[in-house]
Symmetry: C2
Subunit: 181 residues, 2 copies
């Protein structure tokens, strides 16, 4: 599966009301602390990969730890990547595994997220420590449908009163590391 | 924590009875399929490390996947290593993470294990595909107690009618890769 994802920086103030007007469902909220790792054998900034431990606190219930690998872009326009992710039971042990292999924590991204669904897309309102407020729109799809799904995301952003041309292609990690936006 | 572990090759035929005579408790049985990985940036055979995905099927219940890193020996006599291990929810995703990072499956070890406890030690009867039958005796301990715990393990092996001098220091992986014992 491929992940189509578009992102804009925008205040959340009027956006929640606009989403409600369009019939979006608020399905979940959670906070995430993401630790990105440097590799001992590759320069991830150059290979455009990422290795991450995500510590996730849902609105209700216990925190969950996830290990995620993101491969290089396969479709630059929509930031489409191949991705592998699994829940891991013991975060401290996972940190020990990565440390033993020579991977080192490089940067941390903390954010509060609100998730909505609309027309088959997941729309996320993110408040990122040190960066501000953002909207993300995404959908998982097959390789053949990437273009169609991306066009639908652009149309949906326009319908919500946002300007798709203001799309940010950098990750939050990239924005934090090169805080020039 | 450090893991003190001694291992001998020996038939299990009379051993179960001997263990029962000494008051050992049979606490668990399970089968394990271990896939060991090669690293893209280190020769694990030279650095004496290991990275493993363990697929474990208990006598009852669902299979469990574990990710394990074993560091180099810190105490050669008893094969004491630093170790980090965590349960992982999605084995296929974990394989994808390792593959994305350039780690490759190198060898597989399959074994059926019976676990006993006796005098604070865990005693394991292993039947390893392609190698035969073994006994392992182990205990987790602090750095300060490694010598005492190892001496206790040697005494216990003698009490069970085994010859501690026949200790095998190779891992099952090592025995399978260099099948000359």
């Amino acid at each position: 599966m491929y992940e189509v994802e578009l992102k804009l920086q925008t205040s959340h103030d009027s956006l929640r009301e606009t989403l409600a007007d369009h019939g979006a469902d608020h399905v979940d909220s959670r906070s995430q602390t993401d630790t990105y790792y440097d590799a001992p054998h590759r320069e991830f900034a150059e290979t455009d990969e990422a290795l991450r431990i995500r510590h996730e606190q849902p609105a209700e219930g216990d925190a969950v730890t996830k290990l995620t690998y993101k491969g290089p872009l396969v479709e630059a326009e929509s930031k489409t990547r191949e991705e592998h992710e699994t829940v891991v039971a013991d975060e401290t042990a996972l940190e020990g595994v990565l440390s033993g292999l020579g991977f080192e924590p490089a940067a941390t991204v903390e954010k509060d997220r609100e998730f909505y669904t609309l027309d088959g897309y997941t729309i996320t309102l993110d408040r990122v420590r040190g960066l501000g407020e953002f909207i993300e729109i995404e959908q998982e799809t097959t390789a053949e449908s990437v273009d169609t799904v991306r066009e639908g995301a652009v149309d949906l952003l326009s319908a919500l009163g946002l300007d798709p041309s203001e799309q940010i292609r950098n990750s939050y990690l990239g924005l934090l590391l090169h805080n020039d936006t």
